[in-house]
């Protein structure tokens, strides 16, 4: 496997939007400086290459730590490894800022999803279903695992045996 051969098929069409990039480059340079068209295109290519470089290295750091998702820490480590250590401070500051800005959003919505029942409610529901269906349904288990974990499992089993017996009787197959 060739290391970092990004020139080929993996580069697809994904590039940075030209208009935005032109604006940004202009903002970065002194106001009266002109940039040749081919130089602009080249700068954009360099940016894409930089992203590829960081991605690749971050991915390596991530794999080495045996993680599956590339995390911010991996990116920071990658920057250091690649010789861009002086960026770390500002990049980390931007990350902290982002965390602050999104914290309220997360706290507000995500954890108040009220669709869950309590365990007691779930068991009661199970019991109801079981009582209704056990005698008619030839298969025992709505959910064998749940049945096993139920506290009144023994009682229930006996009850089921009675039901089953009754059924057999009805069918005329009493042993």
């Amino acid at each position: 496997m060739e290391p970092m051969d990004i020139v080929g098929k993996s580069k697809e069409d994904a590039s940075l939007p030209k208009a935005t990039m032109t604006k940004i480059i202009k903002e970065m340079l002194p106001p009266d400086v002109r940039v040749a068209r081919d130089a602009q295109d080249l700068l954009i290519e360099c940016c894409v290459e930089f992203i590829n470089l960081i991605s690749s290295e971050s991915n390596e750091v991530c794999s080495r730590e045996e993680k599956r998702t590339i995390a911010p820490e991996h990116v920071l480590k990658a920057l250091e490894v690649l010789g861009f250590g002086e960026y770390i401070e500002e990049v980390y500051a931007a990350y902290e800022q982002h965390k602050l800005e999104t914290m309220d959003t997360i706290r507000g919505g995500k954890w108040t999803n009220g669709a869950e029942m309590t365990e007691e409610e779930a068991l009661a529901e199970q019991q109801r279903m079981f009582a209704e269906g056990a005698c008619q349904n030839e298969r025992w288990g709505y959910c064998p695992q749940t049945i096993r974990t139920r506290p009144d499992f023994r009682e229930l089993t006996l009850g089921l045996l009675v039901c089953w017996n009754l059924k057999l009787e009805t069918l005329g197959k009493h042993p």
Binding site: M4, I6, V7, G8, S10, K11, E12, A14, S15, L16, P17, T20, K23, I24, I25, E27, M28, L29, P30, V33, R34, V35, A36, D38, A39, L42, L43, E45, C46, C47, V48, E49, F50, I51, N52, L53, I54, S55, S56, S58, N59, R68, T69, I70, A71, P72, V75, L76, L79, L82, G83, F84, Y87, E90, V91, A94, Y95, H98, K99
Partner: protein, 103 residues
């Protein structure tokens, strides 16, 4: 000379570029943001150093040749050598002139 940018890099596009690499799997939400900031710093550095060369040559317009020379001057930009290799040097044949537009 680091001014605050008015325009930002598109995070979604950055993520797309990252995931164009087959080896890259899942990416945490904040990661494109970090890459975006790093890219901003990188581009600023690249522009600054290239512009120094432009000035030194007494030119008013930044050309791809200046960029090429910048890349060749600083080790940290080594990964860009292949990209700039297609830029012809003055008075010489250009090296490795593949048609890269069909990538």
């Amino acid at each position: 000379m680091r001014k605050k940018l008015d325009t930002r890099f598109p995070a979604a596009r950055i993520k797309k570029i990252m995931q164009a690499d087959e080896d890259v799997g899942k990416i945490a939400l904040a990661v494109p943001l970090l890459v975006s900031k790093a890219l901003e710093l990188f581009l600023q550095d690249l522009c600054d150093r290239t512009y120094e060369i432009t000035l030194r040559r007494g030119a008013k317009t930044m050309s791809s040749l200046h960029l090429k020379q910048c890349v060749q001057t600083f080790n940290v930009f080594d990964f860009l050598r292949e990209i700039v290799s297609k830029v012809p040097d003055l008075g010489g044949a250009d090296v490795g002139s593949e048609d890269r537009s069909s990538c």
